[in-house]
Symmetry: C2
Subunit: 557 residues, 2 copies
């Protein structure tokens, strides 16, 4: 389309959105606020800036002069935060290695990402040494340690010959040798800043990557969202906040908070790794006002006797990673935690939605706004979400039509690293396919129901298996129910049910159909949701980790 | 420099930062909040979105199909807000015409900007009709009116033949004819969205222009700044706020607040034009919690008996446009207004700095933080400011070295429209030259002292005439003092003083020098600041508007 483009004046500055701008912002308001790594290390933002410049000089000395990929296997620490800045700000790429993957997968990701330098905590030598010969590209290793006066000689006896050849020094000692003068260069805002890997159920881990522009925009949106542009219960993550991240920093930029907290001068407290012991100790010491984590972390906090004496009533918590149950949400609210759910994924950097509860409405909500808090929420500023049908077309935002959630935002991965086919599929029809099924209502509220692979495509419509299972489970005789889609020549797929009955109860296929027809009448489900067949078993088959094994069920019906 | 660029997956969406995203955000959280134009018109955000789509259809019907410039001469109203969105979102350029300029200048700007369509309030026919024949490019005029059941026949008798040929209808009637279905297209985020003119002391007005990308980023930064990412006294401009802008919408995007307020669903109240009567009436009715304006507007509010009964204690006000005096600031604080100064200009879209006062520190500040509030403040997120010397090199951030304030930010004009020479000068050395002299201290706090043309360049250093005049004025015999720079073969320029003595007082040149040498000793001024010559007069020469006439003084010394 025709638009007006005006050539900028000769010599004018074309401002690129670079991560160095986030760090520069950290010196503007309250640079004396602290960044704490347990009792190992404390610095202020002047210190962070200084150390990032030293780190940059070190990278230059090691030949990491832009376009190189640097892996980090470390605990959540001041060092990790420094790498979030120094590596991309020197034009290099930070690979945040997920050391919880299998050894085989760790080796695959480090090699696939083209890591040349590895920053390695001494504890992870046990992972890295056995795979050392699978990493020909990694020519240099920097060791980190949490021990106060650690030197390389402390681990010399542990090093294999192959590893010893690559180890070039210890992080703190190397940093000390560098000056703190460094001018960070400008370059293309579309330069890749970070890469990390996401694991599916099949195949190799896939690399997602994010540019400077994307991370700056994600950080700006975080500022709008958490700072308080919304009069939400969840605002107030500001320059006076104490942030304690309980999301590993290798996991989707610690959900973006380290960048955001740095920009606004929040105090940051890192625990290395999450243990309830550390949490209780450092929460008591620093009084975190803002934190984030997956539901299981929240569960651990709430059930541990170690946290019984903590006042959690000044703490806000963003829950992500998987759905937050009403039960867990209610328990957290009862302890005074002001919590909300968020929704996103590795491919989306990750923020897509955050639960929104207006502060005033929250005061009059009968359930303390629990339902609003545990719902995926509304799209973050600049994020556009749709639900699409099996044909890729957009579906109604009516709160009950289920489709695949697809996204556009300024911070979505451009694809999968070195996997053009998978990237093309991810971006089919120009939208990022989340692989999640859900609904959007007239107030933009997103509800995630199933993984799309568990949704049944029948006659051009989608049926949520989880929704249907929930309804069948309301029948008094039903202990557990599983819905799977089986091929159908006319409709493409049709739902089939497998039901485990409660001991001492009985029910027929006819009875279950009659039961469901009431929900068809009340429009909770569509008539094509009623399963073609209902099979009764004494118990549903489960996988080794206790999940219902739908793959097996499909072969059994 | 070498960086890693990865080609995005085939079919992936390249998200452009477009103004349509700001409007889309307005439907996400509290779309029922109102936009009020006095008692003329009220709508909610659903209404705004609907009307913007109708407006877009109208523009298409009129052949304004992208790349065309549309001028608006209207009062601050719902219509003006609609034009902020509909015009750029259809790929066209909005020219916010400053109707306060001379008729000659209005004609110049409309023609120079290439306006083809003019949206014209009936009150401004008196300006537009006499210049109608100077506007050959303007082929269509849409009339707006605040009268309830206005039709074109109401003004038919006023129209000249030339104007009558161009008038194609009345805004509301034209809008009603259009459907509210419209899909806003994607295009280059560097497309120009707005243009307006800035007047210097000499020459024609100069056009500054801003792209979609720039305005989106400016809005995101506003969200971070005013929403509350900072724990500043000035946070809390959020979705529950009531915004009443007292800055004309033709003036630098009403300082950016209409875009920001729309994004976050604040209630917006427009007065058409500022009068104390309107302010008092609609403030009483809507209770504005956030407002903005120039010092003279604040002065009018504070001194009018009409506002005596208003409770201003829940109102925050951003003051810009010119320096906020301590006296006026103190008066506002005494009335309970939570005010801060901001600094920017037409060329900078405009936010460069905003005074920052930490909420907790404010509570213990002896002067209610007055000094911090009236200082230009700290650079907005993403903004980089320097002070540079006469040679263009950066000067120390020590709080007393005066230099020209130069800027880099993601939202600075690319130049002056059709004035490449002026644009090149604006952007000398890759920095936007503000033309203001000032200092930056170690806490990033910017103080603006003089216009750079009033600063004396001597021996490679800059001397602030205003600072020096202030110090000379402390001498009991001095009524008024003016410092000007005169050419000097050795030093380039040297300061010279002209002093008007108080009646009944006397002082010699020697005495003034001796007086100043004390300030040299205490380091308030440098020794090269002491004027070469001091000339005494009974009164300083003034311009017609009462300003000291330095031009004339230079010829008198």
């Amino acid at each position: 389309m025709n638009v007006k483009l005006i050539e900028a004046a000769e010599g004018s500055y074309q401002y690129p959105l670079l991560i160095k701008r986030i760090l520069a912002d950290s010196l503007k308001h309250e640079p004396q606020r602290e960044i704490v790594y347990r009792d190992v290390f404390t610095m202020d933002y002047l210190g962070l800036n200084k150390r990032v410049r030293q780190f940059a000089n070190l990278l230059g000395r090691l030949g990491m002069d832009g376009g190189k990929t640097i892996g980090i296997m470390d605990y959540d620490s001041h060092r990790y935060l420094e790498s979030y800045f120094a590596v991309p700000m020197t034009g290099n790429v930070l690979h945040t290695v997920n050391w919880r993957l299998s050894q085989e997968q760790v080796a695959y990701t480090i090699d696939h990402a083209d890591d040349e330098l590895l920053i390695l905590h001494e504890d992870f030598l046990t992972i890295a040494q056995p795979i050392c010969d699978q990493l020909p590209l990694v020519t240099k290793v920097i060791i980190t340690s949490d021990r106060p006066s650690f030197t390389l000689s402390d681990i010399d006896h542990l090093l294999t010959a192959a590893m010893r050849m690559k180890v070039i020094g210890e992080y703190e000692a190397l940093l000390r040798q560098e000056t703190d003068q460094y001018t960070f260069p400008d370059f293309d805002e579309n330069a890749v800043a970070t890469i990390f890997y996401t694991t599916g159920t099949t195949g190799n881990p896939k690399g997602v990557y994010f540019t400077h522009r994307q991370l700056v925009l994600h950080t700006m949106a975080c500022a709008a969202l958490y700072g308080g542009a919304l009069d939400s219960t969840f605002s107030g993550f500001n320059s006076s906040a104490v942030f304690m991240g309980l999301t590993p920093l290798f996991h989707v930029h610690g959900w973006g908070f380290p960048y955001y907290a740095t920009m606004v001068n929040a105090k940051q407290v890192y625990l290395g790794k999450f243990t309830v012991e550390y949490f209780a100790e450092y929460f008591a010491k620093h009084g975190a006002t803002f934190t984030s984590g997956v539901p299981s972390i929240l569960q651990m906090i709430l059930t541990s006797p170690l946290t019984a004496g903590l006042d959690l009533s000044k703490t806000k918590m963003l829950i992500g990673g998987s759905a937050l149950s009403a039960k867990l949400g209610a328990e957290a609210l009862a302890r005074g935690i002001d919590l909300v759910a968020g929704y996103g994924m590795s491919e989306s950097a990750p923020m897509l939605t955050v639960a929104y509860l207006n502060k005033q409405k929250a005061q009059t909500a009968t359930d303390s706004g629990l339902q609003a808090r545990i719902t995926a929420g509304t799209p973050v500023y600049m994020v556009e979400l749709e639900v699409t049908g099996p044909d890729g077309g957009p579906l109604a935002h009516d709160g009950h039509t289920v489709g695949e959630i697809v996204a556009r935002a300024p911070w979505l991965t451009g694809g999968y690293y070195k996997e053009p086919g998978a990237g093309r599929k991810l971006w089919a029809q120009g939208w990022l396919h989340t692989g999640d099924a859900g609904t959007i209502d007239g107030h933009s509220v997103v509800r995630v129901t199933d993984r799309i692979k568990d949704v049944i495509k029948t006659g051009g419509e989608w049926v949520s298996s989880i929704h249907l299972e929930g309804i069948i489970s309301r029948h008094p005789a039903v202990a557990e129910a599983a819905i799977v889609g089986l091929p159908d020549t006319k409709w493409g797929e049709r739902p089939h049910a497998m039901i485990a009955l409660r001991e001492g109860y009985d029910a027929s296929e006819e009875e279950i159909r009659a039961f469901l027809s009431k929900y068809v009448e009340s429009k909770e489900i569509t008539k094509w949701s009623v399963p073609d067949r209902v099979v009764f078993v004494t118990s549903l088959p489960k996988t080794s980790v206790g999940k219902i094994d739908k793959k097996l069920i499909r072969t059994m019906i």
